[in-house]
Symmetry: C2
Subunit: 501 residues, 2 copies
């Protein structure tokens, strides 16, 4: 027999099995799974009551909160499509997205609502509105497996945002994928450091619910509050970019804090530097390294850890951990590193190629953008735009964004490789390397450096540091100091750095 | 994007990610995942070479071994349908099944091959034949998600066997279901105490492979050998009926053996008696209780454990653990207990109804038996034939097979309820209760009792023991002592006991 794969089933089951267990902690409020389910039904029926039809887009502008979590179930229960909005966007950016997706309604946090365009139907008294819904919700449409559950707009570092379309099937399988890779179960407690508007929180709203685990909301990344919640709630899992991890490790190192609860951190967005891996271990946490894009429902690969590697020296472990690894179990073998003719690059750890993926954990396409969809899927695989090498053991290591590579005298230089060396310098907090024009070499690497508070270093010193560790042609020819510009999702704006010349 | 859900992907991925890790231990032989994959390719191509076409049935008559495991991947890779044969069947029963499924070929253990009909194409020199295959296999058909991967013949306690059809999708999802419920990962080591011919080993050939874990073959249940393997290989998981568990616990109790490796045992087929649960805990193992049928790919429910229950007294914990519980995460909420009109029984822990299931973890149907299929799926749900109650917390507890219920003076008596009480008597090893005809009451319960070695008890004593613990109408009116007759899959042959009058 077949039944539809939809993450709505995860909530229905946990509301049955774990009805009296705490599902959500949001500040002072705590909801059991039965209560979460009831609130979701009310949301879905209240959406229908204000005219939302199956297929309509419903946007949410909210920090990590019960409302945002509930929308991951209530919106699809009503048959609608969820559009999580990045809370750091400016009014004009929000207006562009709302116009593009033709959102029927926006559920908005009252503090954030003023950034929304006037023409939009905004629900800002969420609790009052929710109370108008009914439980159980009646007359909800049957979900369709290949139906469309969410659109996630990529922030992008250039160009207009693209709306990445997710399906019920993809969300279901990727959520199970997170359960499998990270061993979520009903004893797990998940801290919401990762924004839910980021690839639907890597599908963790659905994954944590599938496991019957506890969601602990966190409205902004504040290390003191994180520590309080980790201790008070017995947090076992959290996700975030390396910068989130280092925010926590630095605070814990300064305060002498060590967790005994077996905290697991999933990091993605950039490879965790060895120093961050060490600091996490010292804090009592283990680090898993995942990699993916909005187009792959968040993580598509995991640096699957071999138990044997535990015995290796720290430096070697850090090197292995910095690799993006292999496809998730649910993604099978749908991951390759290919040259311009879609041939696999040799597994030599040196030859760079583009990372391509396909399968259930790759988006349906870009909303109302068939041209970009076709371009992204040329050859039947999704083109990530990331350049990687394939190691001899089958693990990939991302070396650069395709557009961030530095080509100097005909040699490809991975900006990430140079950044990793710079980050090992004791005075360096963060480093970004971009191509600078050069008459002789075409391009040369230029480094932008943020120093740790109270530390100093000269350009010459950093260049020498690199020359002792890298082929000389890879070393920065110029170094500039200052705070690095970042996108709203925390990525360094390399195009802005390149623009500085 | 969509890709086909098939367990073949699990092997392809583990052969990539865990290429050099041990996949299979079979006696003195150890194969890595790369080697397992190579052998599977050779099997698939060798099958094609002898004329096996997509859709053909390929049968296997073998103990738990590398060959049997490989057939779970090699047969579907060749596009064929796997028919695992129960090694305890008689020649006539095997002949009936092979004739019914029209097996093109049988891969047979040399010791078991003589039981096969002469007309059948038998491969008994497995290793020699395997060497004729090629790696990588070429020209294999693309698997289809809804395509048919296996037929499992039910032994049944009455009537002719029925061929239960599994699909690639169902096998994939149920295997992931086992990974999720039992927390399998690449550090797991699985001991093959459960026969692979029993519902395809509850999908564990696929599940253990998906996790990149280690299969440890066991050709027959021998407690001394089990202990040796658990210690030598660091076994973390095994499955079996309560009788398998008690075989192990009795041996360990007698030898003073306690495991320190965190052994998890999944038991199904009958509720684990409190004594077995206690004995497992004393042995250092934790017990998970699952329930299902051949028609549900093995387990469909799990007694999902609430961490809070750990604090309860042993007797209460045993009572909770004896319940069959709730649907697997991948089965969602597709589990009900219904009356004859398909209405849910009240969740009062008392009203019996039939357990019905549906969804991805329910078979496609009975092979070449549309009438039985239609009958089983009446009302759109699969009818298990098991009678259960629904507890107030949403957990089911199976009380009887529909045909094993005793109806005495208009009262329904659960034979299992009476058996559970009898099993608590210190002299009782095993108990079976069936209906005996009675002029006054229509039927009365009659108990068949196997005593523990060296123990004695009288019929009167056991009846009194029951009367002190049960409503008097539920207590056996007659007691007979002796060894209980069992089917090849270990179920008590109650129809035979009833036949004795």
């Amino acid at each position: 027999m077949k039944s539809v794969l939809t993450p709505l089933d995860f909530l229905a089951r946990s509301a049955w099995v774990y009805r009296d267990r705490v599902a959500v902690v949001d500040g002072e409020r705590r909801f059991t799974y039965a209560e979460l389910n009831e609130r979701v039904h009310r949301q879905a029926s209240a959406l229908r009551a204000i005219g939302v039809q199956p297929g309509d887009r419903v946007a949410v502008l909210a920090p990590n909160s019960a409302a945002a979590l509930e929308a991951h179930f209530g919106v699809p229960m009503a048959g609608a499509v969820l559009v999580m909005l990045n809370t750091r966007l400016q009014a004009a950016e929000l207006a562009w997205i709302l116009n593009h997706c033709e959102a029927r309604v926006v559920i908005a946090d009252p503090q954030l609502a003023p950034a929304l365009p006037q023409a939009v139907h905004v629900i800002s008294d969420y609790e009052g509105w929710l109370a108008t819904g009914e439980f159980p919700a009646r007359g909800m449409p049957e979900p369709e497996e290949d139906g469309f559950i969410a659109i996630n707009y990529t922030s992008g570092t250039t160009g207009v945002p693209k709306g990445v379309m997710y399906t019920h099937r993809g969300a279901y399988l990727n959520a199970l994928g997170e359960v499998v890779e990270h061993g979520l179960n009903s004893s797990s407690v998940y801290l919401w450091t990762l924004p839910m508007f980021h690839c639907n929180g890597w599908c963790f709203p659905w994954a944590v619910t599938a496991a019957g685990a506890r969601h602990v909301c966190l409205r902004q990344v504040d290390p003191q509050r994180m520590v309080e919640l980790i201790r008070a709630e017995g947090v076992t899992h959290l996700c975030g970019a390396p910068v989130v991890v280092s925010t926590l490790t630095q605070y814990c190192a300064a305060q002498g804090i060590r967790f005994e609860s077996g905290l697991k951190i999933v990091t993605a967005g950039a490879p965790p530097p060895p120093a961050v891996i060490r600091a996490a271990e010292e804090m009592g946490a283990s680090l898993a390294h995942a990699y993916g894009l909005t187009e792959t429902y968040g993580p598509h690969t995991i640096c699957a850890w071999h138990p044997e590697w535990d015995a290796l020296p720290a430096a070697e472990r850090a090197q292995l951990r910095a690799r993006q690894g292999v496809a998730y179990t649910v993604a099978g073998t749908d991951l390759r590193v290919v040259d311009g003719e879609m041939r696999d690059v040799p597994a030599d750890g040196q030859t760079m190629g583009e990372v391509v993926m396909r399968g259930n954990n790759v988006m349906l396409g870009y909303y109302k953008n068939p041209q970009a969809t076709e371009e992204a899927f040329r050859g039947g695989w999704f083109h990530s735009g990331d350049l990687a090498v394939m190691h001899a053991d089958g693990y990939i290591e991302v070396r650069d964004r395709k557009k961030d590579i530095v080509i100097s005298g005909g040699e490809n230089i991975s900006s990430i490789e140079v950044e990793k060396v710079l980050a090992e310098h004791p005075a360096v907090l963060e480093a970004a390397v971009v191509a600078a024009p050069d008459e002789k070499w075409g391009e040369v690497p230029k480094a932008y450096i943020g120093l740790k508070p109270g530390q100093t270093a000269t350009a010459e010193e950093l260049i020498e540091f690199c020359r002792a560790r890298l082929a000389h042609f890879k070393c920065p020819k110029q170094v500039e100091f200052g705070v690095l510009p970042r996108t709203v999702t925390g990525k360094v704006r390399k195009n802005e750095l390149r623009g500085r010349g």
